[in-house]
């Protein structure tokens, strides 16, 4: 019964080793899907390349369905799986700042490492920027730690917040994602595409 590390089927060090292996899988899939290219990543915001939307939402609904089915079969105990906490203010403000960073830099941390690993200098520079940004946050922590800790709502799930079961919300998310895929394909036909 998963999660393996929590139920002590594997040791801490095995867990770290598997983290490395999982990371290899992660990096491989990201790069193979084209996420090592900042132009492809930014494309979703202009309509010419919606790979981000397709990969992202397909991955989210696949993983979500997979975990729900595994829980149904008793293969994993979802009570022990980490659910990101909700700190309302900093979630929004952080997201806005990240959105700005995304459209300016054309990367997010995971993809920038992929890009850097195949030699993209803009990826490497982005990573340098990441370090600077985290460092700035760290040294000025006392200035914004109130904002950082504001409005802690616990670790609610969206399904709980909306008052529906996990599976029902999952279905809604799937339908929304599929709808978005159709919109994405339409956008790619409509907006010009250059070869890069």
């Amino acid at each position: 019964m998963g999660p393996l590390a929590v139920n002590e089927f594997i040791s801490e060090n095995t867990n770290l080793f598997l983290a490395f292996i999982i990371g290899i899988g992660f990096g491989w899939v990201l790069e193979s899907s084209g996420f090592s290219s900042s132009r492809k990543l930014a494309g979703v915001f202009y309509g010419y390349d919606t790979v981000v939307l397709k990969v992202f939402f397909t991955a989210a609904i696949t993983a979500m369905l997979g975990l729900l089915f595994m829980s149904l079969f008793g293969w994993i105990d979802l009570n022990w799986v980490y659910v990101n906490p909700t700190f309302l203010t900093s979630a929004i403000v952080g997201g806005v700042v990240m959105g700005a960073g995304f459209i300016l830099g054309g990367f997010c941390p995971g993809t920038s490492f992929c890009a850097a690993s195949i030699g993209k200098i803009d990826g490497m520079v982005f990573i340098i920027g990441l370090f600077i940004g985290v460092f700035l946050f760290g040294i000025g922590y006392d200035i914004w730690d109130e904002l950082y800790m504001a409005k802690y709502l616990g670790e609610p799930k969206v399904s709980e917040a909306l008052g529906m079961r996990d599976g029902v919300f999952g279905l809604l998310l799937i339908l929304a994602a599929v709808g978005m895929f159709f919109v994405a394909e339409w956008a790619e036909k409509k907006f010009p595409r250059e070869e890069y």
Partner: protein, 178 residues
């Protein structure tokens, strides 16, 4: 400058839906093995904390940032799940790039702008993203993707804020991309 190589979709890159399914499987594996999803910005935080403690141990002991990290981690800040995962990401990306012949040292940018401009914006974007990822307690991998997979409300909110803001600002920096 370097020529823009034609990349035929479907041949050089994976079909995005297939890529998405594979990524979803990786995410399931992470949750099954370790009880947590994927991430990226946390590894950066580990490195910064290690650096801070190495360079200025006394100031670090008093820093709220380091304290908050230490509250949930014992031992070396580099011996975390995310650091090992990110090392794997570098290897995985490299392997994939090698297999597809995409290894090339270059600055990728819209031909209508200069490399220098691209790099300045990359740096600025990185700084903003680094800062924002700490506030948002995650980046697109950790908060948005992994958060959505476990239906976390915070993850959803952060994801919508990221994409919403990027869409809103896209018009103003369109010169960089199209």
């Amino acid at each position: 400058m370097n020529t823009t190589a034609t990349v035929e979709r479907g041949r050089r890159y994976l079909n995005p839906y297939l890529g998405g399914v594979l990524l979803g499987l990786v995410l399931i594996a992470a949750n099954f093995v370790a009880g947590r999803g994927l991430g990226a910005s946390g590894a950066i935080k580990s490195v910064i904390v290690t650096g801070m403690e190495a360079i200025a141990p006394d100031a670090s002991a008093g820093s709220g940032f380091v304290q908050e990290f230490r509250d949930s981690h014992e031992g070396s800040p580099m011996k975390t799940w995310l650091v090992f995962q990110m090392l794997g990401v570098i290897v995985g990306g490299f392997l994939s790039g090698t297999m597809a012949g995409r290894l090339k040292l270059k600055v990728e940018h819209n031909p209508k702008i200069t490399s220098k401009r691209r790099l300045i914006f990359a740096l600025a974007g990185g700084i903003l993203f680094g800062f924002g990822s700490q506030l948002g307690r995650g980046c697109t991998s950790g908060a948005a993707l992994s958060g959505m997979a476990v239906l976390s409300l915070g993850g959803f909110i952060t994801m919508m804020a990221i994409f919403g803001t990027a869409f809103a600002l896209a018009y103003f920096v369109r010169r960089n991309w199209i």
